[in-house]
Amino acid sequence: MTTIACPTPIAMTDRVQLGHGSGGKMSAALVRERFLPLLRNDILAQLGDAAIVDVAGQALAISTDTFVVQPLEFPGGNIGSLAVHGTVNDLAMMGARPCWLSAGFVLEEGLPLDVLDRVVHAMAEAANAAGVLLVAGDTKVVERGKADGIFINTTGIGLRPADFAPAPARAQVGDAVIVSGPIGRHGIAIMTAREGLAFEAEVTSDSAALTPLVDALRERVGDAVHAMRDPTRGGLASALNEIATAAGVGIVLDETLLPIPGPVAAACEMLGFDPLYVANEGLLVAFVPDAQADHTVAALRSHPLGRAATRIGRCVREHPGMVALSTAIGGTRVVDMLPGDQLPRIC
């Protein structure tokens, strides 16, 4: 079998578009064509969730993330808790135990202080729960209209044990693909809050620190965890495509096994979205040898965050670098990376 490579460049444009921040192909192209050529070094070039650097024999994981979410507060969290969870989770996905965080705030003139208080409160709570210390910070204020309420950047440092080094490239043919819970909650929670859409059952963001789940995996499954990823922007589909590409394996998902909550599925039906591309902020996907799959699911289920953990697919030798989905009816389709943002369909 041959795969079709796409020889065309991403759409030519002389300006940054929102799609460049979508986590899809346009984002990847921006990094590859604009940042990497000028900033390249061996560590950056790995483009993992976090960089791994060696300091006197100790592997340190470093990650940074910037948060610009609107609305600032949403069902299940706010920009403060999200800023902690996002960076902590990026460290955890590299197998590291998150230890220290810095936070940089860009505040817009006129922001109500009680909003800021709630955001900082949520940050403190999230950092506490994740077991990280916020040890450095910075604040800038810009004129009204030059920022959207609050932007937060967080940078995290974690320690990675020598015997636990999951990495996307380590996924193997025969691995089981396991998710720690239902998919699509964060993206739909934000979207419904932003558009003022009301559904019968409120969808809350899944935003959470994944450290307890990673601890459970490290203790009970250990280095048999080949790869982990938190499928945030771009959703599960983008995360799996990245792993398939990095590891040179094919991935086959079983549609009947995908844990899509009813309200998420309903919102996606109405808005014309595919839940596989909707963001998550408290979900991990793990690749383990098939023989360890049940054990891994059990380990995840031992913590409340992972109580809906389930197996959704497997790695195959065929179609390396591609993700396929076998549909409930028995057909097969490709689950590709999206070029840019998902656009709602017309009717």
Binding site: I4, T256, G331, V334, L343
Partner: protein
């Protein structure tokens, strides 16, 4: 999901597939008219399951796909004006015009917003009296009533800074144009369920009789489509050429009368260009003279914009069902969802995008 998952039951689907295969003594060529149906067929791999019983060709029923380049260029011109807030359904934003798309216009400073309803655009006009709000009114009979309603309400409320750039088209003239074309291969149709929800199916009865083609009003879920195929195949096998209604839970013979009335009060039949198909007489809807103030083309005098379709893109052949997307020389190489040449690659409902996203695998195996 109640009222949805019942129509995706794999067991029933497999039984229907077996029934279609039993019913067909030869391979029949059917066309699903609506892009939403194309999407379901390819997303679920339905055509792959049917083997030698049915060949599906994907019809012209994706509103994004059939919107001519000229209308897109007019949209781009309007969206670039500093006094305009241009509003549209999401998937029109990435449709390439002659030199860019609406997303790029937005990046250059144009005000382009996604709305879920034309009434949201009207609300935007009410809140921004110092701006001109233009809504890109595209689509078939399905979206026409809501767009007509927006214009009607604008007049009623005396909102003077709202207008619509209309590229509405209607299904029956396109079906007739396809059936009249000498290279037509289509032997039966799955008519678009939601178009018929508005219009009913009386206008399809003379077409079925004259061209001796079964036309089955069909829904959008996998079981709807399989049942629609089965009804069409049975008619063909029995030599019947009638309009049948598979989508009984939604569609009535006379459709939705108040919606039709509203549409005919605001819009009138006009000649319209179809992307890839060319001009079809009396196949589109245009704004009536009484509502001329709300017609963006008249309001902003866009008459000077004339754009010819690119020759390398064979969207027309794909939309006519003569060419499978795979067989287009540009498919997957010069033309991809990242850099679409023609609209069928842009919209997720478009036949080319549906094949690219969900079908690439099959050609690769």
């Amino acid at each position: 999901m109640r009222y949805l998952s019942e129509y995706r039951d794999p067991k029933v689907a497999r039984a229907l597939v077996a029934e279609i295969k039993r019913a067909a003594t030869r391979r029949w060529v059917l066309m699903e008219v609506c892009g939403g149906q194309t999407h379901t067929i390819v997303k679920q791999g339905l055509d792959e399951l049917l083997g030698d019983a049915v060949e599906m060709v994907h019809g012209p029923g994706c509103p994004v796909c059939v919107t001519p380049l000229e209308q897109i260029d007019k949209a781009l011109a309007l969206a670039s004006r500093p006094d305009v807030i241009f509003t549209s359904f999401g998937d029109m934003l990435r449709v390439p015009g002659s030199d860019c798309d609406l997303l790029q216009v937005r990046a250059r400073g144009g005000s382009v917003r996604i709305v879920y309803s034309p009434l949201d655009a009207l609300e935007l006009a009410r809140k921004n009296p110092d701006k001109e709000v233009v809504f890109f009114a595209v689509g078939f009979e399905t979206t026409a009533p809501a767009n007509a309603m927006a214009v009607w309400r604008a007049k009623e409320l005396g909102i003077t800074n709202f207008s619509v750039l209309v590229s509405h088209v209607t299904v029956p003239p396109a079906m007739v144009a396809l059936l009249d074309s000498p290279d037509n291969r289509v032997q039966g149709f799955l008519a678009a369920g939601h178009v018929c929800t508005i219009m009913g199916w009386t206008e399809y009865e003379p077409i079925a009789a004259k061209y001796r083609v079964p036309i089955v009003v069909t829904g959008f879920e996998p079981l709807d489509i399989l049942e629609g195929m089965l009804l069409a195949v049975r008619q063909l096998e029995e030599g019947r050429y009638e309009v049948e209604n598979q989508y009984v839970r939604v569609v009535r013979r006379d459709g939705n009368q108040p919606a039709q009335d509203l549409v005919s009060r605001v819009f009138e039949l006009v000649d319209r260009n179809w992307r890839g198909i060319g001009p079809i007489p009396r196949s589109g809807l245009g704004v009536r003279a009484e509502f001329a103030d709300f017609d963006a083309e008249r309001r902003f005098s866009l008459d000077g914009i004339h754009t010819a379709e690119p020759t390398i893109c064979r969207a027309g052949d794909v939309l006519r069902g003569v060419l499978k997307p795979f067989d287009c020389p540009a498919f997957g190489t010069l033309c991809t969802p990242e850099q679409p040449l023609g609209a069928p690659m842009v919209s997720s409902e478009g036949a080319c995008a549906a094949y690219y996203n969900y079908g690439r695998f099959r050609s690769a195996v």
